[in-house]
Symmetry: C2
Subunit: 283 residues, 2 copies
Amino acid sequence: MAATLLKGKDVADALNAKMSADVEALKAKGVTPTLAILRVGERPDDISYEKGAMKRCESVGVAVKNVVLPADVTQDVLMKSVQDLNEDKNVHGVLIFRPLPKHLDEEAVRNALKPEKDIDGITDGSLAGVFTGNGNGYPPCTAQACMEILDYYNIDCKGKRAVVIGRSLVVGKPAAIMLMGKNATVTVCHTKTVDMPSVCRNAEILIVAAGKANAVTKDYLSPGQVVVDVGINMTDEGKLCGDVKFDDAEPIVGAITPVPGGVGTVTTSVLVSHVVEAAKKTL
Amino acid sequence: MAATLLKGKDVADALNAKMSADVEALKAKGVTPTLAILRVGERPDDISYEKGAMKRCESVGVAVKNVVLPADVTQDVLMKSVQDLNEDKNVHGVLIFRPLPKHLDEEAVRNALKPEKDIDGITDGSLAGVFTGNGNGYPPCTAQACMEILDYYNIDCKGKRAVVIGRSLVVGKPAAIMLMGKNATVTVCHTKTVDMPSVCRNAEILIVAAGKANAVTKDYLSPGQVVVDVGINMTDEGKLCGDVKFDDAEPIVGAITPVPGGVGTVTTSVLVSHVVEAAKKTL
């Protein structure tokens, strides 16, 4: 029996349709939701993500303000940029690419950003918002993208055994807290977990953010599972693949997100939806 | 085989001895660590906890400044009190009793407190500190008391299956994150968990913060487990008991904290240790 494919595109399309309507309503009230993208240097990964975000913004009517600083920018100049974006009433959300070059104090930059403009969930205010569920700031986009996929495909988490592989602040921890908020019984695995395959086999919902190609093989999987693969890796042959060995998983599990075309496809839509939400809050 | 008793007193004694030495060193430098206790109204629970905290402070040489406001205090007056304590250079930590009377905006009060004086882990800054592990603020004292017990008794969490019952911000969630920091594989159970007994039986370390007397019975337990019982409940006969049915657990598990005399005994020592740490940071 082949697994149901949880395609990101359908989820993103639904988010985009909702956003487009919201943007239209905002524009009718004289507000154009605007994302500022602050990039230091010219890392290809950053530029590629930036292109995707700009395209997504354009498609739903969100404006973009690009701020590009040289890789050798000083802390003072960078902090001043963040401050300017904080104060700019026409900017509703700010995306700051990280990691920053090593000579910069990333923690200071991160927390200089106003939580209400922190649409990428990088400030302490946003992370406390995820942890406490108080609604402050915005959750990290990738973690929320996993939840959007579960929601869109009507996967009820209540009382389900959910396992998250990975404990990063960008995916694992916030995804775990959000799954608890959905009333799942959540287990977090990581590199120090003993017998991870048996822990994962026991999951009804498995979120994989291991950060390693093909980390999840047949012995981690069991029939009926819903698998959300957060990984984006490049094979030696230059092909994109996830953290789950797809050919192992597909005949066993109940449903799985493909890579490419899964979580990654939803992430930029979530990012842009945060900009729209932030703009709504200024009304 | 009877379980080893993980007595809180031994843990508290060790913390107190360390604190006393630290306080002496601080006093030699002209700093007297000082805890401000801000209480609104006359709730018996608050007064009882206050007495315990004051006694502990006195025993290790930490000064206490009591601020008591009437139960019908206005938000403005309360906020002004918090502000004064923030600005008072002779106050290193502030304990604010909650819940506050219903006419007050607790969230505003909570976040008015400076994170560096938040020795009870109630601000977003402290909670983000727990979540991110960035060292800002202080973790909620009860959650940390559980960790102090594990540390004192040399219970290595690395790679162990730890289960936390309860997902509150005061115990369950911070304890789960702190256990992840100790490299345990952590599962969080709660009221919506299906078949909680089998999830708990599978734990090597079980932290119980269910908030219900005798919630954990024989069928939740298995040989060799380390059980930390956070509950403090009053039986119909007026006796204190935990969330774990002790008589069920004691013959089965490997080690268990008693109630009374377990986690609760350590909590005020942790609170006061945070005041000492906060005072050290002002040097």
